[in-house]
């Protein structure tokens, strides 16, 4: 029963890991850029949710209506104004840019709002029901289902729409894509916006049962990197499944192993994957 509980808790939060990793993976797949600011952008979204609740009494799920467009636009702007400048630069310069953006947002948030902990206190925040002896938290379940639906929607968009086809074309062969008339900067900006929009959803879904602080994104970013590598770099579908996997392993690790050694289990799996399937569990070719 204990293991069942741990795996269920792990899977539920794993959905959120997955959604965060999907954005990271998509940006990498299309732009070959590692976005270190991914988690901090989520944090910005969470603060918007917090203040909307605090000042205007807007319940977190309703905040999706404006947090997602806001973060989408933010992502588009970041790509057009900042990342676009280093798109052909060597990777160290790209790293310094996204790292710098992350530090800027982190420092700005701390300056503006302080490093204190805040929680969004909504009645359903701690709601839970019992499923065959396993306690299932309602807001976590909502987060899991919504993350899954959104990830599914994103794959559909990538596979079946014109926008998705252009994004995949830019990922595969930017020069050829440009030659057939795809607007590269614009497509990249939309991609970045979609990724930050996803992380905005993830952050919003977290707020009812999590806390908000400038540092809140950091552990998630760290996990997202493992998830992305596990699922296959630039493979969003793999990233989502990888998220579930890491969540479940972490949950099991927490129940089986003491303290920080719970990470051991994740990294053992991670190393095994690197040795056996260095391209990631699901490779690169499947999705993007």
């Amino acid at each position: 029963m204990l293991y069942a509980q741990s795996i269920v808790s792990g899977l539920l939060i794993g959905g959120v890991y997955g959604l965060i990793a999907v954005g990271l993976s998509t940006v990498f797949g299309v732009m070959k850029i590692i976005n270190f600011a991914h988690g901090t952008i989520m944090m910005v979204g969470m603060f918007v949710v917090y203040y909307a609740w605090r000042a205007l009494g807007v319940t977190p799920y309703v905040s999706l209506l404006f947090v997602v467009p806001l973060l989408f636009l933010f992502g588009v702007a970041v790509q057009l104004v900042l990342v676009e400048r280093v798109i052909d630069a060597p990777p160290d310069q790209q790293l310094i840019l996204t790292m710098g953006l992350s530090l800027f947002l982190l420092g700005g948030a701390q300056l503006l709002w302080g490093a204190d902990f805040r929680t969004v206190d909504v009645p359903y925040g701690n709601a839970a029901f019992d499923l065959a002896g396993v306690s299932v938290s309602v807001p976590r379940l909502v987060a899991f289902v919504a993350a899954g639906a959104l990830a599914g929607g994103l794959f559909w968009l990538l596979r079946r729409t014109d926008l998705g086809r252009s994004i995949r074309a830019v990922a595969e062969q930017p020069d050829a894509a440009a030659a057939v008339g795809i607007n590269l900067p614009w497509t990249r900006a939309l991609t970045f916006g979609i990724a930050t929009g996803c992380v905005g959803v993830a952050g919003t879904l977290l707020t009812p049962f999590y806390y908000v602080t400038p540092q809140v994104g950091e552990p998630f970013t760290l996990i997202a990197f493992v998830v992305v590598a596990l699922g296959g770099l630039g493979n969003p579908a793999g990233a989502f499944v990888g998220g579930l996997l890491v969540g479940a392993i972490e949950g099991l690790g927490g129940a089986l192993l003491p303290g920080s050694t719970k990470q051991l289990l994740i990294f053992i799996v991670f190393l095994l994957v690197l040795v056996v399937r260095p391209q990631g569990l699901f490779g690169r070719r499947v999705a993007l």
């Binding site: 204990l2 808790s9 792990g10 929680t119 925040g125 976590r140 806390y211 927490g254 303290g259 719970k262």
Partner: protein, 415 residues
């Protein structure tokens, strides 16, 4: 990484090393010892960013307030009214950064260093000052290891975790006995860095010495994104008392997971849980952190000076004063007192003066501040506080208590 990246990384690294070396050399010049300086530099090493930034901010507030007060009152009089100036070093929660930042503030002329909040960082940071012969004041790191290394220039204001754990265990025994609560199955959970491990193991030992039954001692990683699995495991052991030692985000995660899993215990009993003695934490966590006990060093809320400082602090920083700010505040006064008596910024004279410290007028719920040979404050003490309705009060011992403990604690679903 590509070959191109590597080729660029080498000159970049060489450049960085050169800049750092030059920066280090630059600090040597302004060293003055016996002449009366206009400004006396003191180092303050804390986690001003990183996972414990919420704690670091309060540290900074405490130091700032004390320095402002001392300077406004005329500075260090025996040194011609020299003003204190803070050289801040941000260690971001990382020991290696703590060491390099300590190195930097000492190079820049700090006559003494206050550091570093997290025990793990303090251990490394204080090695730097000990080697350089600079006095090091420890406001808040309670791990026993901090003062057990035979350092000659380290002075700790907070009561060590061994003594703190013994006090906590006896408080727990007394509290449960007085209110007829069962304490047959005690679970100890602690974060697994130096701080939590030291408190956790010492508390387990002290509880056993009190004849109490500890069913488990569970370490966990404070930087986890989720602690529900750990809390599920605890719940399965069915403890009646939960003893915990945590930092901020993990404390929040544990409490929320307990509520979600409807995991009820007779009492949640924190030992040195910083956030539990931070009124702001309780304001923000609301019902989730209600009724938790915390055995920690405390403020003397009964004394006039305690009330005055609380009011000043609230006005200046727009938040209630917590131990996290009070101890760094007091540490600056301890240092200022030593500077005053030494009449010099010489490292040896200052160390001697610190060793001879005897201060009684600080608003601490503790005895006089005096140091033994190991650098431990012999007047250190822990008090028990409880948060009810978002308000934090000392409930034990009677000397400092401003409220009665609220027991039994209502179940999660009845709140």
């Amino acid at each position: 990484m590509s070959v191109r990246y590597r080729r660029r990384a080498v000159p970049l690294a060489i450049g960085l090393v050169t800049v750092l070396a030059l920066a280090a050399c630059g600090g040597e010049a302004g060293d003055s010892s016996d002449a009366s300086p206009d400004e006396i530099e003191i180092g303050s090493i804390g986690p001003f960013t990183g996972p414990n930034a919420a704690l670091g901010e309060q540290w900074r507030n405490g130091v700032t307030l004390a320095v402002e007060e001392i300077n406004a009152a005329g500075g260090i009089k025996s040194l011609g009214g020299a003003k204190l100036k803070v050289l801040e070093g941000d260690h971001t929660g990382k020991p290696e950064v703590g060491a390099s930042q300590t190195e930097r503030v000492v190079q820049d002329g700090a006559v003494a260093v206050l550091g570093a909040l997290e025990s793990g960082v303090t251990l490394v940071s204080s090695q730097v000052t000990e080697r350089q012969g600079v006095p090091y004041i420890v406001p808040l790191s309670s791990s026993t290891e901090v003062t057990s290394r035979g350092f000659k220039r380290l002075f700790r204001i907070i009561e060590g975790s061994d003594a703190g754990a013994r006090t906590a265990a006896s408080q727990l025994k007394e509290l449960t006995a007085e209110h007829g609560l069962s304490a047959q199955r005690i679970a100890v959970i602690h974060e697994d860095s130096t701080f939590g491990t030291s408190i956790g193991t010492n508390t387990e030992k002290a509880l056993k010495e009190q004849g109490l039954n500890v069913v488990t001692r569970m370490p966990y990683n404070a930087e986890s994104a989720d602690l529900t699995p750990e809390v599920s495991k605890l719940k399965a052991m069915n403890p009646d008392i939960l003893v915990m030692s945590s930092y901020y985000n993990d404390a929040a995660l544990i409490l929320r997971a307990m509520q979600q899993l409807d995991f009820n215990v007779n009492a949640i009993f924190g030992v040195r849980v910083g956030p539990f003695t931070d009124p702001k934490f309780h304001q923000q966590m609301g019902a989730v952190s209600d009724y938790v006990f915390n055995s920690d060093v405390g403020m003397d809320e009964v004394s006039e000076r305690g009330k005055a400082i609380s009011a000043t602090y609230q006005k200046r920083f727009d938040r209630p004063l917590a131990v996290l700010a009070l101890y760094p505040y007091v540490s600056v006064y301890v240092l200022a007192d030593a500077l005053e008596r030494a009449g010099s910024t010489d490292k040896e004279k200052l160390t001697e003066a610190l060793r001879a410290t005897s201060i009684t007028d600080m608003p601490l719920a503790a005895g006089a501040i005096k140091f033994d040979d190991a650098g431990n404050n012999t007047g250190g003490l822990s008090v028990l506080s409880q948060a009810v309705g978002g308000k934090l009060s000392v409930v034990f011992p009677a000397e400092y208590a401003v409220a009665e403990p609220t027991l039994p604690v209502p179940a999660w679903k009845q709140r």
